[in-house]
Subunit: 255 residues, 2 copies
């Protein structure tokens, strides 16, 4: 395997092996690793031993290999320096500038989404939401976008557990209807929320995908109903471009 830098071929091989373990659907066994990696037995043993020595992988009781806790502590540090908010900042600013409306970034917390960033529009009439605001999954743009990016079975299981509270007079409280909506969101890649979460406010939402294609966060563009005068494309096109930008920085590679 050709390393990108001369003199790092062995390091690249080892990290490649780590990536294979990371990408496996379930912790792989030795024969499985030998097959998917194409490495010879002594080399495979040695590279696994070196990853284990550094805590990057661990061998389970059943001889299978999984990612190690050292990665978690490294990543906590990485997040402190480089969390999704920082990663997303420029793209969110750009989205706000292009749409002219308020943009939110939200992450999941149990069955809600929490706004962790907000880039406000420059209009006089603005959103009352603040960072830290929790919004329900069933009625908010970011929540429905997140559900729509989840694995269908997982999304359905979560929908069955949601408290389908009536937030506004427009809020849908029927789970079957929500399932159908989420199905459409999954196909379209974004959602249009028509005052289900806040009377007089509509929004477009989409989910940010991580390296494994799973939703990591969601973004919305929120618009007072009276100012919602431009075409859907005016909001959706830059929203999806923003999502692609951030998802890519997070390691997502569309197949």
């Amino acid at each position: 395997m050709k390393a990108p830098v001369q003199g790092t071929q062995s390091f690249s091989r080892t990290i490649h092996l780590l990536n294979l373990i990371s990408q496996a659907k379930a912790p792989p066994s030795l024969p499985q690793l030998k097959e998917i990696s194409g490495l010879t037995r002594p080399t495979l043993y040695r590279l696994l031993a070196s990853l284990e020595a550094e805590g990057l992988i661990e061998q389970r009781g059943d001889q299978r290999y999984q990612l190690g806790v050292r990665l978690v502590s490294l990543a906590r540090k990485a997040l402190a320096e480089n969390d999704i908010r920082s990663l997303a900042k420029d793209a969110l600013l750009h989205l706000r500038n292009q749409t002219g409306e308020t943009v939110h970034l939200a992450v999941p917390s149990r069955d809600e989404l929490i706004y962790i960033d907000k880039i406000e529009c420059e209009e006089t009439v603005r959103m009352a939401s603040t960072i830290g605001t929790r919004v329900p999954m069933h009625s908010s743009g970011v929540g429905k976008a997140y559900l729509g990016a989840m694995n269908p079975e997982e999304a359905e299981a979560l929908i069955q557990q949601l408290d389908m509270a009536k937030i506004t007079s427009f809020t849908n409280t029927d789970r079957t209807v929500l399932s159908a909506v989420i199905h459409k969101v999954r196909e379209a890649g974004y959602v249009f929320d028509d005052q289900e979460n806040e009377e007089g406010i509509v929004c477009y939402g989409a989910a940010i995908l991580d390296e494994m294609g799973k939703p990591a966060a969601a973004i919305s563009v929120s618009i007072p109903l009276y100012r919602h005068t431009k075409s859907e494309e005016h909001y959706v096109k830059p929203l999806l471009a923003c999502i692609a930008n951030i998802s890519q920085r997070l390691g997502y590679r569309p197949s």
Copy 2:
């Protein structure tokens, strides 16, 4: 540098460099890395280039190096397979068995702690808490333990923002008193909560530390007041042993 396994010296060197970047108080510059690593210039360049090629580090605009987003996605996967709940399970069971009382594991979420695991005692009278329950930082054992493990400045800043609500008639609502309590917790390494969060329930709490010595989670042993008959040591000694066990698995190394 002697590698733990023959044939992995280069990989060990590269990971050692990654660890130095991880442990630096601020993203280090090239001259700083050269000094602390002891590597020659060509070798340093090459190893940095290989880490960068794999996304494990990134060079900032000001030429300094920080941990890369690839670590975040690897760690998300690692957490899915090996999260703190799994890591802590055996130790929590052991703590419950030794103390005979209900044990909680909680992680922070903004200014609260959320129970993510609960090992119930085998007595007839049990705690009403459930997984997912949020408890305030100022009044709960896990909350105060967490505050006590934080950096003093950060803890103080957070204390100033807390909603010092009166949860029970025993709840302290004075920030200055809370600061003094947290100072004592920091010194003792654990907290004794006397019905501040739930009338009729006392508990002992301590924080789990991560690889950098920062709190990652907290544990409490909850006891109905009428059953709180044994010595403090009966609860505290196994609690601290449990904490040490889990913190070590998380990569914490006491200095």
